[in-house]
């Protein structure tokens, strides 16, 4: 398809705007600082561009176009009211430095979200400032670092992560200057307490772990793990990427965690937008609250002297935590994502538990349909469980080794073949502890009919002619893309010639 740089109309023929408010505009800037040649951007009209971007969108797969069982990413439906609300001038046309009196409604939403997220995770304080899960991890580890420093324990220089952890965990801790201690999982894929006991010592600053794990199974010994880390003086950090599995059923506070991040773009329906924006608030127990980034939404009872408020009897204001680490994003986080997540949470309220129930129901059902519904003739190519367990939580892993051994068809080939059937591929080769891994997370917003059809299609791929699968996809806008060539030739922009 053509490039946007193919549009090259007459100079100034495109989208129009008013003239500057004075004739000598720009004369205040010395010639010696001015640029001589303008950037070679396209010269296009609105009709041309509307068609260009519409055609591009048609070459892109989203939840709206089909089932998206991408494990660890919680690709649930994004309600459209979210988009309607964030177009309102009361959010789109707000500046983060406006005085509190002008943003009472926004502060009220921030306060409600902080409160709700605290309740759901069993934490005492929440900041909405981090704008992605990885930034939430970084922020929480920074708070833990300040906590240790202020206790005179800056010698604690190690962070423990299981080998099944998301890559962002070790990357975030390393950005804070920590040495990473990776502990191996047990043979069943679960946390190995022996390995943990051997890893903790007086240098342990924190342990970072997600539960359910990246295998989609609940870590039954999590409370004991927390005791081991706490006894050594370390802090427990909960990676909230898999929070969709447990809302209302348990929470990180009960499991013994001190800090947690949330992914509003996973659990609370902020759209993923092709890679972002996200929002990664963090919650902490009271002993870490004074280190949170600034500011946090706070409130008190409204008095007669206050100007008009949000209409609920409170006066809201921004507050700086006592020993705040400062800023991790330059303003107050991705407010638009916070407002979308607020609209989503309001839809469930106290019934958020139903959301997790259905996410887990769908994951177990799909696993059952794939793993149990096959006749004996196909067993040779059937995947194995990534981790043995009676039930899974919101996601599960498949080990595709039997198929590879029998036919040479890899997990990646199956993933690519699924694209031909109109599905997004599952997460591939993660967690790395499962060989030939596919990780599937159907989310709560897929119907039984979709899951049934997907399971049937998935199983039929296993018995297809291996050559067809190895050369998949066949029906997508482009065929398999040469990633090695991309990295070798490094054509990272249009030549604009």
């Amino acid at each position: 398809m053509s490039s946007v740089f193919d549009f090259n109309g007459a100079p100034g023929s495109g989208w129009s705007q008013p003239k500057p408010i004075r004739k000598d505009a720009g004369k205040n800037i010395p010639e010696s600082m001015r640029r001589n040649t303008l950037p070679r951007w396209p010269r296009a009209s609105e009709p041309e561009l509307v068609r260009h971007y519409t055609l591009l969108s048609q070459r892109n797969f989203g939840i709206d176009t089909g089932f998206y069982p991408l494990g660890s990413c919680t690709m649930k439906h994004n309600p459209r009211i979210n988009e309607r609300i964030v177009q309102m001038p009361g959010i789109d046309r707000i500046h983060p430095l406006q005085p509190d009196s002008q943003v009472q409604g926004l502060l009220a939403i921030y306060y409600e979200m902080q409160d709700m997220l605290s309740i759901c995770a069993g934490m005492d304080s929440v900041t909405l400032q981090p704008v992605a899960g990885a930034q939430g991890e970084f922020t929480a580890i920074r708070c833990i670092q300040e906590y240790h420093n202020s206790n005179g324990e800056s010698n604690r220089n190690k962070v423990i992560v299981p080998d099944s952890a998301h890559g962002t965990n070790p990357a975030s801790a390393a950005m804070c200057g920590y040495e990473i201690v990776e502990i191996p999982s047990g043979t069943d894929g679960r946390l190995d307490l022996q390995a943990l006991r051997a890893a903790v010592d007086g240098d342990t600053a924190a342990m970072m772990i997600t539960n359910p794990s990246t295998l989609g199974v609940f870590e039954p010994e999590i409370a004991e793990a927390a005791r081991i880390v706490h006894e050594a003086g370390g802090q427990m950090y909960y990676d909230g990427a898999n929070f969709n599995a447990i809302l209302g059923k348990t929470d990180p506070g009960r499991m013994g965690f001190d800090a947690v991040h949330y992914n509003l773009h996973k659990t609370f329906s902020q759209p993923h937008g092709g890679g972002g924006p996200g929002s990664g608030p963090i919650g902490v127990k009271s002993h870490l609250a004074k280190y949170l980034p600034s500011p946090i939404a706070a409130r008190r009872a409204r008095t007669e002297e206050d100007p008009r408020g949000a209409g609920d009897g409170f006066w809201y204001f921004w507050e700086e935590p006592e020993c705040s680490i400062g800023k991790v994003q330059q303003w107050n986080g991705n407010a638009g994502a916070v407002v979308r997540a607020w609209a989503f949470y309001r839809r469930y309220g106290r019934d958020l538990e139903r959301m997790s129930e259905h996410a887990v129901l769908n994951a177990n059902y799909l696993r059952h349909r794939i793993m149990r519904d096959h006749d004996d003739s196909s067993t040779l190519v059937m995947p194995k469980d990534g981790a043995p367990s009676e039930v899974v939580k919101h996601e599960f892993t498949l080990d595709m080794t039997p198929l590879k051994d029998a036919t040479g068809v890899t997990a990646k080939d199956v993933a690519k073949r699924l694209l031909d059937y109109g599905y997004m591929a599952p997460t591939l080769y993660f967690p790395q502890i499962v060989p030939e891994c596919l990780m599937l997370e159907p989310t709560e917003t897929e119907s039984k009919d979709v899951l049934d059809k997907f399971a049937d299609d998935f199983l039929s791929i296993l018995s297809e002619d291996p050559e067809i699968v190895k050369n998949a996809p066949h029906t997508t806008p482009v065929r398999r893309v040469d990633e090695v060539l991309a990295a070798r030739q490094l054509i990272l922009r249009h030549p604009c010639e």
Binding site: V4, Q17, I21, A25, N28, I29, P30, L38, W41, R43, E46, R59, I63, D64, E83, R84, M88, P89, I91, R93, I94, H95, L97, Q102, Q104, G105, L106, A134, Q145, H166, P170, S172, A174, G177, R254, G275, G276, P277, K327, Q329, W331, G333, A335, R346, R347, G349, R350, M355, H358, L361, S389, A425, L428, P473, R479, A487, Q489, L492, R493, C496
Partner: protein, 455 residues
């Protein structure tokens, strides 16, 4: 609750699995960590009720378009073309994930490759990524990137020099991102006239990097920055933070020696949105490519030899390199960058120039009008400005702003919130939509408020 297609079909699905209750699915959660009561939250609402509450709450905010507004401080009260949100929220874009499967993600990949090109052209550097979280994290990660590339061969390892006229919130982000990896941040002073002290800048010679902004926190532009390259030496990374719109008029930093250019992309693509989601731009020379943060799209071929796009250089990233990654960034601001690309395409080269002229015309007109008020002085009268300018009042800026607010004018930003010693200073910001009438309202409200504060 209307988001669950299988509501009412639970038993049917459970029984296929040989179960009879949802509770069996959660039997693996040990009793001692299980929650047995309901979440103490309000009851569920319908879409209608949520919309009504949103209208009530967000309607209680006073938005920038409801009155003359002169608050900017790094964000723009811009005009976003109608096409932009309408097309960017097409479900195929909006509800997609990071394009790990290029065969079904060519739309976003191509759009991001085109975005990289537009940013590259704007700043005159060969490489750009598909966005950082904002201008501040872009600046912070530019610094850590420069240290990774330069530290081993520098006579001042782990040392970076930063202009003292970088806004404090950005300095705070920079400090958070650099403290753990033990980067020493030294401050580059400015002279009384506001220009960077080029003599003092000699100290940065053969350090890892220098970070300056054009325009700076006060909206001032400093021609001296364009000679920094010769002062700091060839081996020191020159990182420049820009106002992206200003580059419709100003020489691109890539043409005066910058190695990395960062900035707030927000003026292209999205409203100020209470501070986010916005996006940071990040562009650099090829020397920094393999150690830069963020996602990068490259052109390739598919199995049939057709041109195709894919994410590339992923071995820098956390999902592969884990704790040795160049950054922890994973989710970024792709959708907002897409909106930026749409806006930039609509503007075109001449539209960008006109946009910059509109902003500078409004800024200059407001400046001339405001300094005509007795007792109001520019803090750096010698320097040209873009989008913003800082003035010293004959009285408290906070009290003056409160009074202007009561007259229906958002008069600017009280600089004492950034620097305690600037309690009588005001940062006044303009944009392409600032009208002559707005400026008249600003000037009369400011003059009247000053006399009220002083009386």
């Amino acid at each position: 609750m209307d988001q669950l297609p299988n509501l009412g079909r639970e038993l049917e699905m459970l029984s296929e699995m040989g179960m009879s209750s949802i509770d069996e699915l959660f039997a693996d959660i040990p009793e001692d960590v299980r929650r047995n009561d309901s979440l103490p939250l309000p009851p569920p609402q319908s879409e209608e009720q949520i919309l009504a509450d949103a209208q009530r709450l967000l309607g209680a905010n006073i938005h920038l378009d409801s009155r003359p507004s002169f608050i900017s401080a790094g964000l723009a009260r811009n005009f976003v073309p109608t096409m932009v949100p309408m097309l960017a929220t097409r479900g195929e874009f909006l509800t997609s994930y990071t394009p790990y499967q290029p065969e079904v993600s060519q739309g976003m990949l191509q759009a991001m490759w085109e975005f990289q090109t537009m940013v590259s052209e704007l700043v005159a550097l060969p490489v750009a990524n598909v966005s950082m979280y904002d201008a501040s994290t872009a600046a912070a990660e530019a610094i850590t990137c420069a240290v990774r590339v330069r530290s081993k061969r520098s006579s001042q390892p782990n040392t970076v020099y930063v202009s003292e006229f970088v806004p404090p919130h950005r300095m705070s982000v920079i400090k958070n991102y650099t403290q753990g990896v033990e980067i020493d941040i030294k401050i580059l002073p400015h002279r009384v006239d506001g220009t960077l002290d080029l003599d003092a800048a000699k100290a940065a010679n053969d350090s890892c990097a220098v970070y300056v902004e054009q325009p700076n926190a006060f909206g001032s532009m400093d021609e001296g920055l364009m000679s920094l390259r010769s002062i700091i030496g060839e081996k020191t990374a020159l990182i420049v933070g820009v106002d992206v719109v200003s580059l419709g008029l100003m020489e691109a930093p890539g043409n005066w020696g910058a190695d990395i250019v960062v900035g707030e992309g927000q003026p292209f693509g999205i409203g100020p949105t209470a501070g986010g989601p916005i996006y940071g731009i990040f562009a650099c020379t090829k020397d920094y490519l393999r150690l830069m943060p963020g996602r990068i799209v490259g052109q390739s071929l598919d199995a049939d030899g057709k041109i195709a796009y894919t994410l590339t250089l992923s071995t820098r990233e956390q999902h592969i390199r884990r704790h040795r990654a160049t950054s922890n960034i994973c989710s970024n601001e792709t959708l907002i960058a897409l909106m930026g690309a749409m806006h930039m395409s609509l503007l075109g080269p001449e539209g960008l120039e006109r946009l910059a002229l509109r902003v500078t015309a409004a800024t200059q007109t407001a400046l001339e009008s405001v300094v005509s008020i007795g007792g109001v002085e520019l803090i750096h009268p010698e320097l040209p400005v873009f989008r913003e300018f800082a003035v010293r009042l004959p009285c408290s800026s906070r009290e003056t702003l409160d009074l202007m607010d009561s007259k229906g004018v958002m008069g600017g930003f009280d600089l004492s919130r950034w620097w305690g010693s600037m309690g009588d200073c005001l940062l006044i910001g303009c944009d392409e939509r600032t009208t002559k009438e707005d400026i008249e309202s600003l000037t009369s409200a400011l003059a009247l408020s000053i006399s009220e504060v002083r009386s």
